[in-house]
């Protein structure tokens, strides 16, 4: 007996998989009205500890000793940009890593993994829906930066920054895929996500310049995509450097992205196969 196959192009049908996944996740998000309180409060509250911490240590908005190691005397914009990009880390790692576990918990994972489509597009949809909320946060935070901390935005700045953020997100997706793969096997992914988030916030220059870290920690930090994204974005926004001058950071980000995404998909397929053999795919 014949199987009814899709009458639309693979590109179109894969686009609909991604789109349906995004729509589904956003509908889930909006199904809980309390989320709006979080969305309203979170972007503002996120800044406060960084600002107060900076004021307490530096004693003002600028510091010469800070400028000596970071290249900019403005501590607050430095930390604000760190916080802004770091918000993508948590949403990507936690969101995508946990999404597989959530499907298992809901009982839908069996159906998703037994559908005749490429799982990569489902995962891309999951990742993109997580990034949408991060981007809303980022824009709110950026608006706060412009209004209160004197950060200037021009088209010449915003386009290269968006490019760097996309490169950062791709690397984070790769790492989130690794977490999603581990959650297939070990189920509890959010503990791993939190651990990784702390690794990012300690070893990447989120609140302090990379030079503040001991040498061994700097080496570790240089394996993380957030490090290069922060260096590049701060250089563009605070030191007025061009994207061309940051070609090394861009290249290293591209390499990390490629390795993380390859490893992520490889590990996900491997773990899927393993759990299908052990019969634990729908366990949670």
């Amino acid at each position: 007996m014949e199987v009814s196959t899709s009458q639309q192009s693979p590109l179109r049908s894969n686009y609909f998989i991604v789109w349906s996944e995004i729509v589904k996740n956003l509908k889930f998000l909006l199904a809980y009205p309390v989320v709006f309180i979080f969305w309203a409060v979170f972007p503002v509250f996120w800044f406060i500890p960084f600002i107060l911490q900076g004021e307490a240590f530096v004693g003002g908005l600028q510091s010469q000793s800070f400028a000596d190691i970071s290249g900019t005397p403005d501590f607050i914009p430095f930390v604000v940009l760190g916080a802004l990009l770091n918000s993508y880390v948590l949403t990507s790692l936690y969101g995508m890593g946990e999404s597989i576990r959530r499907e298992a918990y809901r009982g839908t994972l069996d159906y998703i993994l037994s559908a005749p489509c490429n799982k990569a597009f489902i995962l891309i949809g999951k990742a993109l829906s997580e990034s949408i909320s991060s981007t809303i946060f980022a824009f709110t935070q950026l608006a706060i930066c412009i209004l209160f901390f004197g950060i200037e935005l021009t088209l010449g700045i915003i386009i290269p920054v968006i490019f760097i953020v996309i490169l950062l997100i791709l690397g984070l997706y790769g790492m989130a895929l690794i977490l999603a793969a581990l959650s297939l096997r070990y189920k509890q992914a959010h503990d791993l996500a939190h651990t990784m988030e702390y690794v990012f916030s300690v070893f990447s220059p989120v609140r302090y310049p990379l030079a503040s870290l001991p040498l061994w920690a700097q080496i570790l930090g240089k394996a993380l995509p957030l490090t290069y994204a922060l260096i590049a974005v701060r250089s563009i926004m605070l030191l007025n450097q061009s994207l061309m001058a940051l070609h090394l950071e861009v290249l290293l980000l591209l390499v990390i992205d490629a390795v993380a995404i390859f490893l992520g998909f490889y590990l996900f397929n491997w773990m899927e196969e393993r759990t299908k053999k052990s019969g634990t795919i729908s366990h949670f």
């Binding site: 007996m1 639309q8 009982g107 069996d110 159906y111 053999k277």
Partner: protein, 362 residues
């Protein structure tokens, strides 16, 4: 349907399908510490292995409604999961709609619609329509066609007017109907239905059974239906495979399976307050009866207990057993001879009752 048994043209064919699971006794950190402290000697490998499917060979014809009847833990769900490619078998393989489950997984998946795991396999926070639109996208269905198909199927299931309500507001039976609609969205030639009426009230069960029957009879779908409800298998299925402990022990039509228990081989006595040692007494006086079953009724609610004698020359022992019951002041309600049910067939084949819980989790 006239069918050539030699033909390879089956909708579903399993070939020595085998699946074993390893039991994990020590789970979590405390389990690990306990194991380390006790320094347990490793047991033989076989003691920690559960054979869920043991060289299963089943052939299902196109358009056939094929039942898989067995108790909980018999291996029914494992078989369905292997066929749907959610589970990879250890040995053997299966062919679904002409595609090998090991080598042609995408084509197998496109050929199948499945209802497995009950009502919890849908997104309760989304509407029925949203659920169906999402799952249709995973089957690469064009949007316009999907919308039409959803309307058509919801109409058949009499749920059109509730399509835009969240599933959390649905009853269990309605959610199960949506699960069936999901399985039918891409119009697959083969359906795997794993206990589709489990936990439903009689009205919804009847509606769903009618739908299943129509799918096979009017739409020509091949249906593999797993159930532990013998009436369901009896009423719906063209042929039934009896499965127990991972082995298929008989495959035939319901009538032919019942014929395995000869009229003279089955006696059923309904009575009140039979003593608990009655089986031992009967066994002592009627040694050639193969199986003696005591099924306790709910006597407070007026449902008598039943004593079943199966196998041997059960009929010849009626007098002896009746005398025995009278001497023990047991009130006898009725006596039936030679009217086997599928449960009797199962008892005859396995020595166990179909409704008994097995090893747990299939």
């Amino acid at each position: 349907m006239v069918y050539n048994e030699e033909s390879n043209d089956y909708s579903i064919q399993t070939i020595d399908l085998t699946k074993r699971f390893t039991k994990k006794k020590h789970r979590g950190i405390f389990g690990f510490l306990r194991k380390s402290r006790k320094k347990e000697k490793p047991k033989s490998k076989n003691s920690d292995i559960v054979v869920a499917l043991d060289h299963v060979n089943v052939k299902v014809r196109p358009g056939e409604l094929f039942g898989l009847l067995g108790p909980n833990g018999a291996g029914k769900t494992t078989l369905v999961k292997c066929l749907s490619t959610i589970l990879i078998p250890d040995k053997g393989t299966a062919v679904v709609n002409g595609f090998d489950i090991r080598k042609q997984t995408s084509m197998v998946r496109a050929s199948l619609g499945m209802v497995i795991g009950g009502e919890r396999t849908l997104y309760w926070k989304l509407t029925a329509r949203d659920n169906l639109m999402y799952f249709a996208s995973l089957y690469k269905m064009p949007r316009k066609q999907t919308k039409r198909r959803i309307e058509e199927l919801l109409e058949i299931m009499q749920l059109s007017d509730r399509a835009d309500e969240r599933l959390e507001d649905y009853s269990t039976g309605m959610r199960q109907k949506i699960a069936i609609v999901r399985a039918l969205l891409h119009d697959p030639p083969v359906l795997l239905l794993d206990e589709p009426t489990l936990g439903l009230d009689p009205t919804f069960s009847r509606q769903i059974r009618n739908q299943i029957k129509e799918l096979a009879e009017k739409q020509g779908k091949t249906v593999l239906l797993t159930t532990h409800y013998m009436e369901e298998a009896d009423q719906l299925c063209d042929r039934i495979a009896v499965i127990n402990n991972g082995k298929v022990i008989a495959v035939d039509t319901s009538d032919n399976l019942k014929a395995l228990v000869k009229e003279t081989e089955l006696v059923e006595i309904a009575c009140y307050n039979p003593p608990s040692d009655i089986r031992a007494h009967i066994k002592l006086h009627c040694p050639d009866v193969e199986i003696i079953e005591l099924i306790h009724g709910n006597e407070a609610k007026g449902t008598p207990s039943r004593i079943k004698l199966i196998g041997g020359k059960a009929e010849e022992h009626i007098g002896t057993v009746m005398d025995m019951l009278r001497k023990k002041n047991v009130r006898i309600c009725s006596l039936n001879i030679g009217m086997p049910t599928l449960e009797d067939v199962f008892i005859k084949l396995t020595g166990a009752r179909l409704t008994e819980s097995g090893r747990g989790g299939s």
